[in-house]
Symmetry: C2
Subunit: 282 residues, 2 copies
């Protein structure tokens, strides 16, 4: 595995693969890797000739007051984890990603305004801007993202189509701890007591899923259920929503393919989780 | 010359050239072609294996109240002019460029806020969005733009660098009518009487240039001169500015490489022109 620190070198590597019509697979990350990240590389391995992971804690996608400063960084550990799973790891310095005078932004309206976008103002604009730049530098054939960040995936997919980047996006299933907690770099923040309470997000989703299976179709009721479960089990719910998987707009009564999505604080740590459900037509 | 109407077909053509490591040159236009456009293709011809011109009157770059509806369109004439100067002409339908659900925008801050950007709110955001999409579809090695739209060029160059599109941009000199009027599709709007008054923009620039040559360095004075010349010769000046050629910020006293830029209405027609000057160091 080769460690790449500059955009210029990454672009040269990418050109090498393009010239030979070889397929590069790409997994952008913010480091502090876990099995969820490694599964992205596993999914890419089946489709690509070589794999690139990037590690960059992108300041543009943190809102004021969020955890940019304390976001966990452990390059040495990350490199060890990637060693056998990856051909190139792109770890740019901030001045490589945002050189002096950088002033372009990419934004997806509509999809960025719901769910996490309501509270995290500017978050998705930061994500689409950095991913557009990374896509330009790495020029992969495939790029993989996790389902845990479902809204992020839908937004990046829309951007990729609208700007005709010609990159195939792969959404990989959420990887979970044994007890069901969705893997996230932010789980590191949790004390052991908070770690137990963090399960409330998953519990809320599964409770709603069960209610749907026995006939509940009213999104409003299901949302109330999910909020109640989270709040009762020691989380501070930010939202619980049931939305169309494509346009992320509320669906009520629920039908077709829907996303159950929740966000909640456990202590100071903001967590998210979701489930995709194909409703039986009424 | 092949006429291409769909994005899918244009992408296939582009892939063909990329796979063979051949260089595509690209000149995006809004049609109603003149010698300025043809000179872009001439400049590309020296550098590329094949040339693509696009014709698309982009609604996103017209502000409310501007001339989108009456903007001149003459496809038959355009195709005749391109015939010997171009290998592919990409003329997408609006629903090809902006399919249902299109919701991405690309914006360059700072550079878009001065000169024409002050009055034409959202204009450059419309330009960068459509050019980003066109670049994604055509994937050229080179793209050519005219110096007449200098601010547009600087903004597109910034976007191309920031998003690492890997496209080399070429700025081609403004092509002028015999009497010095900068060629523009909008010159068509001018009555013969207005056509004479339209020369006031060029006259303003040349007057300022002369004053600089005999020692004037105060931008404020030079701006006043340019505004006076335009208004005295029958145009209604919108602005006259002297700015740094890179960051488009006012330079006063003038030094280094500067852009003299003017915009004015002649009747209902908004015209622009500019001159680049390398000042002798004081």
């Amino acid at each position: 595995m080769k460690v790449v620190r500059t955009c210029a070198e990454m672009i040269e590597i990418s050109k090498f693969y393009i010239k030979q019509n070889l397929r590069l697979g790409f997994a952008p990350t913010m480091g502090c890797l876990h099995d969820g990240h490694l599964s992205l590389l596993e999914h890419l391995n089946r489709r690509c000739d070589a794999r690139v992971a990037s590690i960059f804690v992108n300041p543009k996608q943190f809102c004021p007051g969020e955890d940019f400063e304390r976001y966990p960084r452990d390059e040495e550990r990350d490199l060890k984890l990637l060693k056998k799973n990856c051909d190139y790891v792109f770890i740019p310095y901030e001045k490589e990603m945002y050189p002096k005078g950088f002033s372009t932004s990419v934004e997806v309206s509509g999809l960025s305004d719901t769910l996490c976008g309501k509270k995290r103002m500017g978050h998705f604009k930061g994500v689409t801007t950095v991913v557009a730049r990374l896509f330009g530098i790495v020029r992969p054939t495939f790029a993989a993202f996790g389902q845990k960040d479902y809204q992020q995936f839908v937004i990046i997919k829309k951007m990729t189509q609208d700007l005709s980047f010609g990159i195939q996006l792969i959404m990989c299933p959420t990887v979970r701890e044994k007890d069901g907690l969705a893997m996230s770099s932010r789980n590191m923040y949790l004390s052991s007591e908070e770690r137990a309470r963090a399960l409330s997000l998953r519990k809320a989703l599964l409770t709603a899923k069960k209610e749907i299976e026995i006939g509940q179709t009213k999104a409003e009721n299901l949302k109330k259920t999910m909020l109640k479960v989270m709040n009762n089990l020691g989380a501070k719910a930010e939202y619980a929503e049931i939305v169309d998987t494509e346009n992320l707009q509320t669906v009520d009564p629920i039908h077709g393919e829907v996303l159950l999505a929740v966000a909640a604080y456990v202590g100071k740590t903001r967590l998210i989780d979701n489930e995709i459900l194909r409703c039986k037509e009424l």
